[in-house]
Subunit: 456 residues, 2 copies
């Protein structure tokens, strides 16, 4: 039987989409590239995922898993055609075990919806990527997503206790952190190349009793970075410690969120959470540190509404920037925290060298930067400038002992950067691991690892 016929037999006509307008809806993500799949399958259960994988394997068709499509590195793009596996139907919360501090969910569940269900119980699922209102748990796991509050609570990998994985060879396997080899940890962040996550057991955490959010303004980037180091050195672990540069602050201000003294070049958002008395003390200590490093203003959110405004301003940053130009390129690199100021300077210098306005927001506490470049992708000169600047940013980060990917993944975007960071022996090792899970190179081919002879 032909591939599509078999697929439609298995899932029903409604859940296999082949018309071009429908396929085009799955052709893009935030990288801006367009690669329409040959078809879209919408399985409703782990068993249907297995069936789809078996059929795809039989016909040698690539399979690319997709949640909300908020991916920032091309990890959801069917660059070699084939089938997009849309997991949004599998969006159930299967169980919330408050005493055991865990929740069992399907991969298509939106992060924010899980948190909506947990909040009335006094709990949260801590990883909070800026996309959390729309991005799915499956996508968060595939990218090992981070977020502002991962400084204190840890990234996605720290919150995934177990996974059910549908393998390309048609088996369902349960992976937990207690296994002889931590295959669970291997799958988190593997960008859909090792199998399809069909269920996840997540750690849930009591909501903090209270939180306090400070905004500190600085006349230059260096002082803001020194303040980050000063806070950490004072043995305070804030719940979040974010840095925004001048351009981002202006966009935020223009959008109606916040106001800053004239001459502000950088601001930190610093949040502490926990016991109300403790955080009052910590907030006072942090404010003093900010002033000692030359903050021109330190403001504490007066109430929950003002606190939400600050975070809304920060989370929408990418959106504000996107309004200013036809397209915005966002990079994601991590450097040791003590090299943050140096890396920010390098990014500015790279921007100047190529005549590009590069702005940066950073999860400063983690040393994770997001330099962003607004540009017009229709202009081939600008495109080449951005490509070149991008590679230089990756190289600078590797030179400073950092990592070319923080939380957005490798996808197709950073394939060219991989040899900057990994030796041939390391790439070979990773390639062989990939083939253990996917001997026929059908899962998300053309992404994550530069193709060796024989391809992925």
């Amino acid at each position: 039987m032909a591939f599509l016929d078999e697929l439609q037999d298995a899932l029903g006509l409604d859940y296999v989409r082949t018309r071009l307008p429908e396929r085009m809806a799955y052709a893009y993500d935030a990288t801006g590239e367009k690669h329409p799949p040959d078809a879209v399958a919408m399985p409703g259960s782990a068993e249907q995922v297995l069936t789809v994988l078996r059929i795809a394997r039989k016909h040698g068709v690539p399979v690319v898993a997709r949640g909300a499509g908020t991916n920032l590195s091309g990890g959801t793009l069917p660059v070699q055609g084939g089938l997009v596996l849309n997991l949004l139907r599998m969006n159930r919360i299967l169980n919330i075990d408050v005493a055991g501090r865990r929740a069992e969910v399907e991969p298509g569940l939106v992060n924010g919806r899980l948190n909506d269900a947990l909040r009335p119980l006094g709990f949260h699922y801590a990883p909070d990527p800026s996309s959390m209102k729309v991005s799915t748990i499956g996508g968060n796991i595939a990218e090992n997503a981070g977020g502002p509050h991962c400084l204190k609570y840890g990234v996605t990998a720290s919150h995934v206790l177990g996974l059910q994985l549908a393998t390309s060879e048609g088996e369902l396997v349960d992976l937990t952190e207690a296994d002889a080899y931590d295959l669970r940890g291997l799958v988190v962040g593997s960008e859909g190349t090792l199998g399809i996550v069909t269920r996840a057991t997540l750690r849930i955490t009591p909501l903090p009793r209270a939180a306090r959010t400070l905004m500190a303004a600085f006349p230059d980037l260096d002082r803001s970075c020194q303040t980050v180091a000063g806070i950490i050195a004072a043995q305070i672990i804030p719940a979040a410690l974010e840095l925004m540069d001048r351009v981002n602050l202006e966009l935020t201000t223009t959008a109606g969120f916040g106001h800053f003294p004239p001459g502000t070049e950088a601001a930190l958002i610093i949040e502490v959470d926990g016991d109300p008395e403790d955080i009052a003390e910590e907030a006072a200590h942090i404010a003093a540190i900010c002033h000692s490093y030359g903050a021109t203003e330190v403001r504490s959110a007066a109430d929950e509404q003002e606190r939400n405004q600050i975070w809304l301003g920060r989370r929408n940053n990418y959106g504000y920037l996107a309004r200013t130009s036809p397209f915005v390129w966002t990079q994601d690199v991590t450097v040791p925290r003590n090299h943050l100021a140096q890396m920010l300077r390098e990014v500015l210098a790279i921007g100047e060298r190529h005549g590009l306005p590069i702005n940066t927001v950073a999860h400063a506490g983690d040393g994770n930067l997001h330099p962003t470049i607004p540009f017009d992708p229709k202009d081939p000169v600008q495109r080449e400038q951005v490509r070149q600047a991008d590679l230089e940013i990756l190289a600078a980060c590797v030179r400073l002992g950092g990592s070319i990917s923080g939380e957005h993944g490798i996808g197709i975007d950073k394939l060219a950067g991989m040899p900057l960071m990994f030796t041939p022996a390391q790439l070979d090792l990773m390639g062989r691991i990939r083939r253990v899970f996917d001997p026929e190179c059908l899962l998300n081919p053309g992404t994550l690892l530069p193709a060796p002879k024989g391809g992925f």
Copy 2:
């Protein structure tokens, strides 16, 4: 050239041991089995480890890494002969980066010595296996060792930021948690089967400002388990939450540590750490919870000396028990915390069924139990009883949704239990991962995974 000649040429005569008395010193660990290696190599650097691996591969000789030999599951036993790689010469602290919160060390460094170096700086390396005074960082990594304080701080895997691994194919590769695939996490807990760790970058943590330790006595096991659940439900995360049963309490008391009301069947050691005011409040809250579940006594350590005495009593538990009989078998299983009481009851029933006095200490907060069985290994009837009871404990733990290994590893001890927990598909997947790193099955063969056709 012959294998040993080549080895002696590479390391020098002093660092290759072949005489039987020397080899016998590497033939055992805490499992009690004896398997002398054919030779012992003592490399002094990562390059020498590589050289040894290359020579061993050329001659097809198995290689078993060893630190202090405190292993509890047979993971350091050369069950198929070959070479023991003694890593104790590689015991340097290479760097302590206080601002970056990390330390770089060699694998043969003793855990306690790292902590001795960190204490004056106001830091610690948090994972604290009971063997920490003698066991090495390399061994802790190979076993993904836990300890009482891992309840709050996380097990070894959460504290290993990066590894340098010498592969069986003779390459040095750097693995970090930021890599596309988390091979670092795969190697932690892999019991020497994926390569030899030649350097580790560890997370270091500020020492808590203060700590307070409580001992609570209970008239039965159930009440102690209910108290564990009650403390967690009150959203307190103690630094440690340990359970000891009657026999262990009696041994501790006899050894001069502590005293308990008559009729005490179980006790909890509960430690909180952090800000002095907070922990005073938390300790009072915990004491109230203990009383509400029927504790007959709750005592708070009056000073640091009494606190150390409590921990010394707990850490030496295994030693006290070892004095009571020719040999003590220690099991290591984990169940969901809400099944702790049920698992304790099952363990007691299994002991009664086989006429064996099984005692238990538990990292109760993690649901991790160590049932221990004193017995005479020279008595074949007792040996068979212990073997049978052991398998029943593993089966009970799997039935309750637990894991057959908490922190002591699989080694040779739990090979028979692996099929209880893993499907053939899972075992096959793990076997294929192992072969990626070790295609010729020379690293710790005969351990960790039941041998498929062709062997490991």
